[in-house]
């Protein structure tokens, strides 16, 4: 067994700041347990997304499916720098967040497959992961729509005086939706404990950031709201930055962060992801900046974790994900009555009768509600 004390490590890339007088440190202190935790969670996310890819290709996934591989350091680093008391709201690229907020791989895959046991009872699918007991306000399918919600959630934190903040995530493409600017203005006026998190993965569907954004320094686009750009491929950079962001949000007011990252998969499973960028670009990022690999190197370089231990984790994670895949496949689909439940609260019993009138039919539907 190696050292179990605290080790100080260097971060890779300097931050860039906008309208800020201070910035997060360029070093981070880590313990063995922390590193093991970050690595194994990131690797779990990676395997989960790879299994989602396989499940989708085997036609087990209903609906659209957007994967997070390449971006794991953001989710895991933010979680390490914040608490579940802090709220998170994000886009449809939400599988990893659901896992980090306490769901299981089986739970995420069940939702993905439209099965009972998913967080939305299989009614939402890939884009709709939610975890109310951990303040995860979930996946939002409409680009940019979560931005003003993040402000409302932040106001509730301020009102409650709970010392927590709201993190509202969006992409480099979503950064161009007008709602974000409306929300930034409200947040600044109300001095909300709000962090706008731009996950800049360089593309919004097939459009590169240069083609979609007149100013692609997203951390400066709040104008009157300060901002910071951070290496989104290094879990410890993200963690240190998040601590700084939360402190600023709670003590001063809204702030924008741009995490520089990359998505390995195409936009969604129906996009091969190679018509608007080339394979070389993807493999270069994989080789030089892979976030899971970076976390692993911290483990080894600090000598806090051995190669053998990493191998052991990898083995366990693979087995866990494989078992989750089987469990999700075997899980039952939702009850048919789920079609017409949760539309309103206190729905009248004949609610569904306003749709196709099954009960009076001659029985051709094979259902006897």
């Amino acid at each position: 067994m190696m050292s179990s004390g605290t080790v100080t490590v260097q971060l890779d890339k300097p931050y860039e700041t906008f309208k800020l007088e201070s910035e997060p440190p360029m070093t981070a202190e880590v313990t063995r347990d922390e590193l093991l935790g970050y690595y194994s969670l990131m690797y779990r996310m990676r395997r989960m997304e790879i299994s989602a890819d396989t499940l989708y290709k085997a036609k087990h996934v209903k609906g659209f499916c957007h994967l997070y591989d390449g971006q794991e350091a953001i989710c895991v680093g933010m979680e390490a720098g914040a608490t579940w008391g802090d709220s998170v709201i994000t886009s449809y690229r939400d599988h990893a967040w659901q896992l980090s907020r306490g769901d299981t791989v089986t739970g995420v895959l069940c939702e993905l497959l439209g099965k009972q046991g998913g967080c939305a009872k299989g009614k939402g699918g890939s884009m709709h992961m939610y975890k109310a007991d951990a303040n995860f306000y979930g996946g939002n399918g409409i680009v940019g729509s979560q931005a003003p919600l993040g402000a409302g959630i932040a106001f509730a934190h301020k009102f409650a005086g709970d010392g927590c903040c709201s993190f509202a995530l969006y992409g480099d493409g979503a950064a161009n939706q007008g709602q974000l600017f409306e929300a930034l203005n409200m947040a600044a006026l109300l001095q909300l404990p709000l962090v706008y998190v731009c996950e800049n993965n360089q593309y919004g569907m097939g459009t590169s950031k240069k083609r979609s954004s007149a100013n692609d320094d997203y951390y400066t686009r709040g104008g009157y709201v300060p901002g910071i750009k951070c290496d989104g491929m290094n879990v410890l950079s993200v963690r240190e930055c998040t601590k700084f962001l939360k402190k600023h949000a709670v003590e001063v007011g809204p702030i924008v962060v741009e995490f520089d990252t990359y998505r390995y998969h195409g936009h969604s499973m129906s996009d091969p992801g190679i018509t608007y960028r080339n394979r070389d670009e993807v493999s270069q990022v994989r080789a030089a900046r892979d976030p899971v690999d970076r976390a692993k190197r911290y483990c080894i370089d600090t000598e806090l974790v051995t190669e053998a231990e990493i191998k052991e984790i990898d083995k366990e994670v693979k087995a866990e994900v494989a078992a989750a895949v089987e469990a999700a496949k075997a899980a039952p689909p939702p009850e048919q009555s789920e079609l017409w439940t949760d539309v309103h609260v206190g729905q009248s019993k004949d609610f569904f009768m306003r749709g196709p009138d099954i009960s009076t039919s001659s029985g051709v539907y094979g259902t006897n509600r």
Binding site: G63, I142, G178, Q336, L339, V343, F351, R354
Partner: protein, 365 residues
């Protein structure tokens, strides 16, 4: 060039006369095989190719025409704008950032100057961020300015309706929201042939038009499409097959589902008059009225939820116009009053069996 084109000249340009094909009753998804001698040259096309063709013709025949939307320079998600950027240049085929409200407003401004603005909203489900621009600005521009201004050159295309796995945000049929806003035209093609002709009509029509493309038909609808320039009339329903016992009305992809139900009913000796409404607003009340006065029964079916769906308007207007002729209550077979579901698409949708069942109940009433 676009920038130097005076407003008036642009307006005239858009008036270019293209032959108007009046569809004589013809079988679903085939070219007008019984058309007169000067039968136009046709080609087998998918709906995607037919739409692409219509856009190409629009850009060719009207030098003020501009196509814009998210990723359209690369063909768009469904490849409807494939190749247009190369052919017409980046000044006329523009990529837009993800900002539907902004891009529709941009189109209204462009059209107000007299240009032809052809916007693509990536999915009909994403048209809602632009609701204000469409309903408050585009729809009322002419009225509120006493016809001093209008944005008649604006057409908004958006893929709509179910695909089998689209879930909440890739499946909706939002026609009723827009039909409720006077000043807009709302159009749905049912196949490649009607897509090309109706789209060209929308583009050239002097009112802001919403053109909803049933995405399930993009590649599955293949038919003989005239290679040249033609338009199909807006505001006119098409009787696809005449019948005696019941009038059945649908639009978009639902026309095919309904036609299958009608065939099933025909096997039971029920003769259905199959009508594609085509234009939802302003809708062709006369054709439906004439038909119901003959058959005495009406069924309307759409994928959108039942309550306040456009079928409600059709039913109310027809019971008023045909009260003395009706032999049975008007049947509506629609989507359920739930969000468009991911897990229960089959249960939600007004499928062939549900329609067949309603036809039989209506004729046996």
């Amino acid at each position: 060039m676009l920038s130097s084109l005076p407003r008036r000249a642009a307006r005239q340009l858009r008036g270019v006369a293209a032959p108007s094909l009046r569809g004589a009753a013809r079988p679903l998804s085939t070219a007008p095989s019984d058309a007169p001698e000067e039968e136009p040259e046709t080609k087998k096309l998918t709906m995607v190719a037919a739409i692409n063709d219509a856009l190409r013709i629009a850009l060719k025949t009207d030098e003020s025409a501009v196509v814009f939307g998210e990723d359209v320079a690369f063909g768009g998600v469904f490849r409807c704008t494939m190749g247009l950027r190369d052919e017409f240049g980046e000044e006329r085929v523009l990529n837009m950032p993800i900002n539907e409200q902004g891009l529709v407003g941009f189109g209204i401004g462009l059209a107000a100057v007299g240009s032809t603005a052809i916007a693509e909203v990536q999915f009909a489900d994403y048209i809602f961020p632009a609701m204000d621009q469409i309903c408050n600005e585009a729809a009322k521009f002419r009225y509120r300015s006493g016809a001093e201004f209008d944005c008649g050159g604006l057409t908004i295309r958006a893929p709509a309706q179910a695909v089998g796995h689209g879930g909440h945000y890739h499946s909706q049929s939002p026609e009723a929201y827009f039909a409720h806003t006077p000043g807009l035209k709302v159009v749905y093609p049912r196949d490649a042939y009607t897509a090309k002709g109706l789209l060209l009509s929308c583009i050239r029509d002097r009112n802001p038009c919403l053109f909803f493309e049933p995405k399930i038909l993009y590649r599955s609808s293949v038919c003989d499409v005239p290679t040249g320039d033609y338009m199909l009339p807006l505001g006119e329903a098409e009787v696809l097959s005449p019948g005696e016992h019941i009038t059945c009305v649908a639009w978009g992809a639902q026309v095919h589902t309904m036609a299958r139900a009608c065939e099933r009913a025909a096997a039971e000796g029920v003769s259905c008059e199959v009508i594609d409404l085509q234009t939802i607003a302003p809708w062709d009340m006369h054709t439906i009225r004439d038909s119901v006065q003959k058959t005495g029964r009406l069924l309307v079916t759409h994928e959108a939820p039942l309550t306040a769906g456009f079928g409600a308007e059709v039913a109310a207007a027809i019971q008023d116009a045909c009260f003395d002729h009706l032999e049975a209550p008007i049947a509506r077979v629609c989507g359920a009053d739930t969000p468009f579901p991911l897990a229960f698409e089959k249960l939600y949708l007004p499928d062939e069996l549900k329609i067949y069942d309603a036809i039989m109940r209506t004729v046996q009433y």
